[in-house]
Symmetry: C2
Subunit: 385 residues, 2 copies
């Protein structure tokens, strides 16, 4: 049982009221009180504070409050709070301004040489933010923080990148670096975890209680959102399925084990296998060979899709979610594979679990990580303020 | 956000106070108020109610409450509440009376022909309970319910066995049957889930926040306890790892897929593989062959242990727990395999996750399911009353 001191309770109540307004606006003070079990006085005090600070406002809309009385409705000011969302990947960075509803106000990206040092990447993020503020007419006072999503194992509390093969970083205090350069409070998180959160909050898994997002691209991973919260595990590594073993006699993986899931489905592995036969530099080239009916390309991609269906089975057996989102570069670039994976699931998913979940496409696509990172930055802000 | 009506809040507060007393006894009213954030008046009212009802009592012990005042401490009456815990397996049933601390007061078991009809098994459970009440001197008024743990997929809310290969049951309304025969309120749950809960509450994972229990025996399964609660998933099937695919080209499984984890490690599969060479009827015989150095027995068991270490890797990658409990018939009967599996983990667990969790032995062994089922029955009682 957590120790609730008074300050904590106050902050918690404030956050609760704020989130109810955010999720159910327009809403009356009475409805907030009913839902939270707080007293009408407490709710009114918190709403007044939030109004003074420019987060919410009373609208012209009214609902009947019984006996002919009317009660005003509260709404958020969408741009009352803005955060910066950053997606960092091996070879590019996408940076955008995100409002309280998760709308992207403006964005920009730059390409990044693999293994670029963190300080250089951070400096470039800093100057891109300044460009966007200038050209996008962003009100600097409204910016509450910056969130970054990237592939790897992240220590979220301190914002440390413990380990990212894709970026070539190890033990980088990224949040501190970002804070020093930009002046904004920074949060760092795993890309799939924030993407899953974004899809659950405003994308393809809206309304789901137990969402799994699978990402198939340069890496392979999963993320679980439980009742609106990221499931992290003890070291924020939950969902790292890339190195689950799917064939102990299989190919060697760069991690030193054999038969890791990622050796069958991530893009670098597919290209390296294909190149044993013919130089294939991009995933587009490999899919073009498949479309042309080249037998080894068909074999490689069919096998990868079968392993993706197996991944759905294995993840569903463990997490038992209501929704599975298929996402990642392979799905974004070749939308036709979604149907193929869904069809393969009828063969590879354990029969008692078939029908217990729906498989959906990602709705936010390339913007998912940026939006999710921005939202995580806002959450952190409201927890601390 | 849940709708908290006043009654719900009251019940919830009562349960909270009760659980704090249970976990931290002896404890003063002031300490309860501090931990829960409830007012001293509310805490005193709830403690008075619980005292009247014979659940708790004020002890002679006292703590200083400042300025020379003394404050009395509250304790549970261990036998204020008793429940019946039942472990049901393919070929036997264990039935015991469990007090509020999870102590087994008395127990009895009977063997059960596989595929025995549910009504027959329930009738036998009913008469065993009556025997135990008579011979064990159990106060019938104190019995708050009966909990049953069994292998299979269970609809917990209604207490329906959707599907149990081991018992040969499908869509059995077991809770209703039990309630009709015994007169006690009944809960039915998956055996590994209740066993994991028992280990976390009073066994080898005491104090853990994220516990995974693995069960290796007639079936293969896992259960996750998150901050003291069973993680169920949407259809209570979370942790059903027996049919995760570990080799798509592997042996056929009775579920109709190939290469399911259970085909490499559950007892029936091991015996059926061994019997291709020589009739082997029990797991003891197979281990005796291994001890004698028979090469195929060594191969089969070594392979099974490697797959158990792979299971640790796959489960840890997905749930990222702080503790993993190895349990089940194979571990109970051949305790030496624990060390072997732990050693294999250094080869099969992904390097970044090594050291993020501890591997422990089950502490409650054969009593785990019985104790856990009894505790689940008590939880249900306190939620409803």
């Amino acid at each position: 049982m957590k120790k609730h001191d008074q300050d904590f309770m106050k902050r918690q109540n404030r956050l609760t009221v704020f989130q109810i307004i955010k999720n159910e606006q327009p809403i009356s003070r009475a409805a907030i009180a009913k839902q939270t079990g707080m007293s009408p006085t407490t709710v009114s005090r918190i709403v007044a504070e939030l109004t003074d600070e420019g987060y919410v406002h009373e609208t012209e809309e009214q609902v009947s409050a019984g006996r002919g009385r009317k009660s005003s409705l509260i709404r958020l000011l969408d741009t009352a709070v803005i955060s910066i969302g950053v997606e960092l990947d091996r070879d590019r960075a996408n940076i955008g301004f995100v409002d309280i509803q998760g709308n992207v106000l403006c964005s920009e990206s730059f390409s990044r040489p693999p293994n670029e040092e963190a300080s250089t990447t951070v400096a470039r993020i800093g100057s891109t933010i300044e460009d966007l503020i200038a050209t996008g007419g962003i009100d600097r006072k409204r910016i509450v923080g910056i969130g970054v999503g990237l592939p790897g194992i992240i220590e979220v509390q301190e914002g440390i990148v413990k380990f990212s093969v894709q970026l070539g970083w190890k033990n980088i205090g990224l949040a501190d670096l970002l804070q020093d350069v930009t002046g904004f409070q920074a949060v760092v998180d795993n890309e799939l975890k924030v993407k899953a959160l974004a899809e659950q909050l405003k994308g393809s898994a809206y309304g789901s209680n137990r969402t799994v997002l699978l990402g198939f691209g340069n890496g392979v991973g999963s993320a679980l959102i439980l009742e609106g919260e990221i499931y992290r595990g003890v070291t924020n590594s939950a969902g790292e399925i890339g190195h689950t073993t799917v064939d102990p006699e299989g190919m060697m993986c760069d991690c030193g084990k054999a038969g890791c899931l990622q050796t069958y489905i991530n893009i670098p592995s597919l290209l390296s296998e294909a190149s044993k036969i013919k130089p294939v530099r991009t995933i587009e080239e490999l899919f073009a060979e498949r479309r042309a009916g080249t037998h080894w390309a068909c074999y490689l991609i069919d096998r990868a899709l079968a392993y993706m269906a197996i991944t759905v089975n294995n993840v569903v057996s463990m997490y038992n979610p209501d929704s599975v989102i298929l996402s990642g570069e392979i799905l974004d670039k070749f939308p036709e594979v979604h149907e193929e994976i869904v069809n393969l699931c009828s063969r590879y998913v354990w029969e008692p679990l078939q029908g217990s979940f729906s498989i959906v496409r990602s709705k936010l696509h390339e913007e998912g990580v940026m939006i999710g990172s921005g939202m995580v930055a806002q959450d952190r802000y409201f927890q601390l303020n």
